[in-house]
Symmetry: C2
Subunit: 221 residues, 2 copies
């Protein structure tokens, strides 16, 4: 943390995570209103609340570091707002798939970044990203819907591809804009990072994990 560029990168990482958790809270809460029953609504609202508590952990760390919340979050607000605006679910099932697939691909991505940072930051990131245990609920509801009407699967598979495409587009936008954050991943003079081969492996792991999750939902990827 004595290296100003490294510190800037970590604050970027925490700021991006904070925006991710807070916007995920907002979107899951909104999508919960699409639920067919109050029990389902409460289940998705519970996923939103779990994201908010993750956000609170990151907010506390930013406060410890003496960084104002808005300073850390503002650079990442627009890309996340754009992601969610471009992937607003039009029905309950799309909302469920997004809650599961969208959240998990972001989790995988931040975990990969966390591998390259100091122990304290890594512990916080992994703690914040710990599986909230709601995935079973989503898998159960999506598989039941496909059993009832198999034509649903094709539309939801397309939807899953759109989610990943949008996520990658926004991630690239952030990487291009935020040099300090990119340097956390690829390194900087005197601080080694991932080389091209390792970056390629990260991308294959992300893709592989995404395909496995889609398969678990009964969807092709």
């Amino acid at each position: 943390m004595d290296d100003p560029e490294y510190r800037a990168g970590i604050i970027d990482l925490l700021g991006a995570l904070a925006v991710g958790e807070l916007t995920a809270f907002q979107r899951l809460a909104a999508d919960a209103e699409l639920a067919p029953t109050r029990a389902d609504q409460a289940a998705l609202a519970g996923m939103a609340v779990a994201e908010f508590h993750h956000f609170e952990q990151i907010r506390d760390r930013l406060t410890e570091l003496g960084v104002a919340l808005d300073d850390a979050m503002t650079p990442f607000h627009e890309p996340y707002v754009a992601f969610h605006a471009n992937t607003a679910p039009s029905n309950w099932l799309e909302g469920l798939v997004k809650a599961y697939v969208g959240d998990q691909i972001a989790t995988d991505f931040y975990r990969e970044i966390a591998a390259t940072v100091d122990d304290d930051t890594r512990a916080l990131v992994n703690d914040v990203l710990a599986e909230a245990g709601h995935a079973d609920f989503v898998v159960d509801r999506v598989r039941a819907a496909i059993d009832e009407d198999p034509s649903v699967a094709g539309r939801l598979a397309l939807w899953g591809r759109r989610l990943v495409g949008e996520a990658l587009a926004q991630a690239q936008r952030v990487a291009a804009d935020r040099d300090a954050l990119t340097a956390i991943i690829v390194g900087a003079p005197g601080r080694p990072g991932m080389d091209l081969a390792e970056l390629g492996q990260v991308l294959s792991r992300l893709t592989e994990n995404h395909a496995q999750r889609m398969a678990k939902l009964g969807l092709s990827s």
Copy 2:
């Protein structure tokens, strides 16, 4: 709880509270997106999350009583949806006033009802309605906005009156529809309730408390 009509009334009370807390969660979460800063957004989102945790306590009690969540909640879904549809804030300050005034008038109302029920139910209701301590945040923001532009006060005072009017309209609709719930308040054969004079006192206390809260915000009522 051995009296089936009393039991039905308590389940109605818990169902209405559950809907109130879950819809408050939804609306506060949505209104948080109107916030001018991420810190403000997080503060209102935190109020939403507090409502969700209250909801969870009621859900647990309904489960203990062997009542399905949707059975208890469905009768009260529409009036709450109507209330929120008719009082959607058009800006951040309206959202703040609604979060504070709307939540507190509902709290007062349920506390008055709780005075007439068994000890266990009363303890749960009072626990769920306990001040979440976010009021200072709202008072601070609203007073600062009025200091900056005094013309805001007139519009927000009107808004406060509209919130109360809508709340009363929906409460009357529920009272007319749900005999068992009404009997919790006004009594039933063999089970005394409030008489007309006591009901009048309840209404004056609700009005009085509302006026005090509006004054605290710097608004006439």
